[in-house]
Structures are given as structure tokens and as C-alpha cells.
């Protein structure tokens, strides 16, 4: 059996997706933590593993894998353990549809807001020369632009408004889907739920006016059910920063509208 090494940041967004998938499958892996806010992902040691400088990356034997959603499908197919893709072809289509929406439409809107209120302020106090050098080391031009904007706090009012519109609409879409089914894309737990939890676990904290037990009871039920799974507990225990504390909002039995300001 070849060893598995995962290069990841906090259990959150793209990093958390393969972390949680590996844990649900019961696959032991070497954890290699990269501090995103210290730009570990653009250092030569990591670029030797993943020249794109994106997190996460997984090394399985001599195979290197990137792209967290495709990586999760690999984890499901390459290892024994519970299946994380449904058997029915139409359910599988739905899993992939939702993952695409979250990866390419909803996720970037969440992260634009997250970067403007969290990532930007977290790194902005650093030495400007150091930041400039760090940005210049970023291999992908798109990521250079994203980091520059986050550091400068340079998000336009229009693009922030568009992100807020998408977040509000995305929350309604999730609530509707979860009102129809126990899980996001099928009647069983799947990669879509792992993907969705990593996007939405702090939703009642981050978007209290849009997501709470009064407005989105099915989202809250879904998040709490996933949070109760042993793999999720073990995964979130791997966090190293206070970011990981946000998931504890789900320990509250009822979050009423207006309860969290």
C-alpha cells in the first residue's frame, strides 16, 4: 500500500474537501500543513510538488494530484471504504452538478467576501516589501490578481454586491434542495455533502441574516448532521488556527433569526 501525503491548510474550503473525504474513507495520510496566510504554498519546496502553487495537493505513491474536486473522486475510487459517490448514474450527475456550482459560482462569491473581511486584513499588517515579493512568487496570474486585490482591499462595490447576490441566491438553492432530500444531491451522503459542508459550515455565523433555524431549517439540519459524523470531528480537530472555532456554532441546538448580530 502506497503512502498518502496531503498538503493542506485549515479544514475549510478546498483544503477541507480531500481531508474530509480521506477521513470518511478511513484512509490514513501524512498531513503536511501549509500556512496560506504565510504564503507557504508559493515557496520552492511546495512548488516542487505542485508547480501551480495551489492548495491542496495529494501525493499517493509517485502520483501527484491537484484540483480538490477531481481529487475527491480519485480518493473515492482508489481506496476501499464507504462509497462517497452514489451508484445511480443520475445521482452521480447531480453530485457533479452541485460541486461545479459550488466550486465555480457560489464558492468564489463566498471567498471574495471572506478574503475581503478576513484574508486581506490578516496579511495587510505585514511588511509591504515582503508582501510584494510574496505576490510576485505566485505562479498563476489569476491568483496573483486575487491576492493583490485581497491585500489592497481592492474589491469594487459592484463585484461585492454581485457576490452578495449570489450568496443569498445560493443559500436559497441549497435550502430548496435540502428540503427535497436528506442530502444535497441524492438520498445518501456523498462528495457533494463533503464539498458543501466545507463551503457552508460557518454559514449561520457568517450570514446570520440569511441562514438560521427559522429561515433555512434544512441547511441547519444538514450542517449539524454532517458535523456529528466522527470523520468531520476528526477533520476539524486538525485545524491550527482560531478559524476552526467557527464550526462550533453548529453545537447550538437552535439558532433563531436575529440571534447572532
Amino acid at each position: 500500500m502506497h503512502s498518502v501525503t496531503l498538503y493542506h491548510w485549515e479544514p475549510n474550503a478546498n483544503s477541507g474537501k480531500p481531508m474530509l473525504a480521506l477521513m470518511e474513507k478511513g484512509v490514513a495520510f501524512n498531513s503536511h500543513y501549509l500556512d496560506l496566510l504565510k504564503f507557504d504554498q508559493h515557496r520552492p519546496e511546495y512548488l516542487a510538488v505542485n508547480p501551480q502553487g495551489t492548495i491542496p495537493a495529494m501525493v499517493h505513491g509517485d502520483r501527484v494530484l491537484t484540483e480538490s474536486t477531481a481529487m475527491m473522486e480519485y480518493v473515492d475510487e482508489a481506496f476501499p471504504g464507504p462509497k462517497l459517490m452514489p451508484a445511480d448514474p443520475r445521482d452521480r450527475w447531480r453530485v457533479r452538478w452541485w460541486m461545479k456550482l459550488m466550486d465555480q459560482w457560489l464558492g468564489p462569491s463566498f471567498s471574495m467576501i471572506g478574503w475581503s473581511v478576513f484574508v486581506g486584513p490578516a496579511v495587510r499588517s505585514r511588511d509591504p516589501a515582503e508582501l510584494k515579493a510574496a505576490v510576485e512568487r505566485i505562479p498563476l496570474p489569476e491568483r496573483r490578481v486575487a491576492w493583490s486585490k485581497a491585500i489592497a482591499g481592492n474589491f469594487g462595490a459592484e463585484e461585492m454586491a454581485e457576490s452578495r447576490r449570489r450568496v443569498a441566491l445560493g443559500i436559497r438553492m441549497l435550502e430548496d434542495a435540502l428540503a427535497r432530500r436528506a442530502w444535497l444531491a441524492s438520498d445518501e451522503f456523498s462528495l457533494a455533502d463533503i464539498n458543501g459542508f466545507n463551503l457552508a459550515y460557518a454559514l449561520p455565523l457568517a450570514q446570520p441574516a440569511l441562514s438560521n433555524d427559522d429561515l433555512t431549517p434544512n441547511i441547519l439540519r444538514w450542517l449539524r448532521t454532517i458535523y456529528a459524523r466522527p470523520a468531520t470531528r476528526a477533520c476539524w480537530a486538525m485545524g491550527r488556527t482560531s478559524m476552526v472555532e467557527r464550526v462550533k456554532i453548529l453545537e447550538q441546538p437552535h439558532i433563531a433569526a436575529g440571534q447572532i448580530a
Partner: protein, 251 residues
């Protein structure tokens, strides 16, 4: 199982799905929809949330036992699962990962660029009443830009760069093989479907690309793609474009 495929001219996402359908010999009723006129939006199935909110832009819709499905690569995966004969994805998990990663790059980087350049050169002509029916606000906004012929020079140039990069990747990938993933796969269909129409629009991307050139000919001559192309209603289906996915907003 009852299947109806609503598709447009065999180019872009419609070509991928039609070719997958024929390659896997899946029986389906075919229904032609003029995607360049926005006709998809008058279909009842287009109002289903997972079609209305598809981020692919104007693509085909497969209705399977009453459920409407969108997004061409994932419909092709579905057809690969339910159809017969050789798989359209490799069997090995790592090769399957590479296929999905390749297609994701096509979906996210190449398709928006190709659709933008395609609509610039061959403007789709939707009538206003159709556009009013579009459920997705961001898709309608892209339609309005294109209907008004408001193209951004920077986006056009960026799109040409993306096509050059895609051609470079295809050429490199074909160094030791006939098909992108070793065997004929969804990656060939998806890549051909978006790139074939780019040859006259971004000619410099395809100069000195002998492997890509012969791969284009191989894919075009493959029975499934040839059958899909035979459904064309215009003389040059690769010049038929409609609104595609959005160009990345950031990152």
C-alpha cells in the same frame, strides 16, 4: 428509460453530448433547439432549477425520466455510465482523475474564452422576448452584453491567450499518444467541441501544431463525432455560437 435530448448545432456543449450519446449508443429522442436564438428558454424543462441555474451558458438539456439535466461534461459522464461499449473515461482512478481535471480546465478556462470569441465573430441573434425568460440573472446579463455587441478588448485578448494556452496543452498532451487520455474519451470530445471553431478565429494558436492538427482530423472522423456533425443545419456548425460560461470573475 425515456430520454429526450434538446440540442443545438453540433458545436461546443451540444457536440460533446451528441457525440457521447452516439458513441455509447444510447437511444434518445433528439429535439433541435436554436441555442443561438435563446430558444432553450421557452422549453418547460429549462425552468427546472438545475437547468435554469446551470453555469454552462447555452448548452443542451437531457431529460431522463422526467428529470432535466444540464452541463455537457456531466451529461456525457451520465451517458458513459448508462450506455454500451467502450468507456468514454479511462478505467484507472488516476487516469480518470486526469480526465476530470482536464475537462475542468476546458470548462473553466477554455469554454468561456471560446464562447466569447465565437459570439464576437458570429453573433447569436436572440429576440428580446426570449431573453426575458432567462432565469439566471448572470446569464441574462451576459446575453444582454452580447446582444448589444458590447465586447471588452481586454477580455477578447485574454480569451485569445486562453485559446493559445489550450492549444499548447493539447499539443503537449499528444506527444506520445493519439487521444488525449490514451483512449478516445470525453476529454477528446469536450476539447474538440470548444477548439475546432477557434482555428479560423485564433489562427496563430494552431500554427506549428502538427499533432493537434492530425488529432482534429481524427476526432472529426471518429464515427460518433461524424454522426453528430451530420445533424448540422448550417453549412459550418463550428461557426455557430451562443452565450457560454462566464469568464472568471476572480481567482
Amino acid at each position: 428509460m425515456s430520454l429526450t435530448l434538446y440540442h443545438g448545432e453540433p458545436n461546443g456543449p451540444s457536440l460533446t453530448v451528441l457525440a457521447a450519446l452516439f458513441a455509447k449508443q444510447v437511444p434518445a429522442e433528439l429535439s433541435y433547439v436554436d441555442l443561438a436564438r435563446g430558444e432553450r428558454h421557452v422549453l418547460a424543462c429549462a425552468q427546472e432549477p438545475l437547468v435554469a441555474m446551470s453555469i454552462e451558458g447555452e448548452g443542451p438539456v437531457l431529460v431522463a425520466d422526467g428529470e432535466a439535466m444540464s452541463d455537457s461534461v456531466f451529461i456525457a459522464c451520465y451517458l458513459d455510465d448508462v450506455g454500451q461499449g467502450a468507456g468514454l473515461r479511462p478505467a484507472d482512478p488516476y487516469d480518470r482523475w486526469e480526465t476530470m481535471k482536464w475537462c475542468r480546465q476546458m470548462i473553466e478556462r477554455t469554454a468561456p474564452a471560446a464562447a466569447y470569441l465565437g459570439c464576437h465573430a458570429h453573433p447569436p441573434q436572440a429576440d428580446g422576448a426570449m431573453l426575458q425568460r432567462i432565469g439566471s440573472v448572470d446569464l441574462r446579463a451576459r446575453w444582454e452584453e452580447i446582444a448589444a455587441r458590447r465586447f471588452c478588448a481586454e477580455k477578447l485578448e485574454d480569451s485569445r491567450t486562453k485559446i493559445r494556452q489550450a492549444a499548447e496543452r493539447v499539443e503537449a498532451q499528444l506527444a506520445d499518444r493519439e487521444w488525449l487520455m490514451g483512449n478516445y474519451s470525453i476529454a477528446d470530445l469536450e476539447s474538440y467541441a470548444w477548439l475546432a471553431g477557434m482555428v479560423p478565429l485564433v489562427p496563430e494558436a494552431f500554427v506549428n501544431r502538427p499533432r493537434t492538427k492530425s488529432w482534429f482530423a481524427r476526432v472529426k472522423a471518429s464515427p460518433a463525432v461524424a454522426q453528430a456533425l451530420s445533424l448540422a443545419r448550417t453549412p459550418e456548425p463550428a461557426a455557430s455560437w451562443s452565450v457560454g460560461p462566464e469568464i472568471n470573475r476572480w481567482g
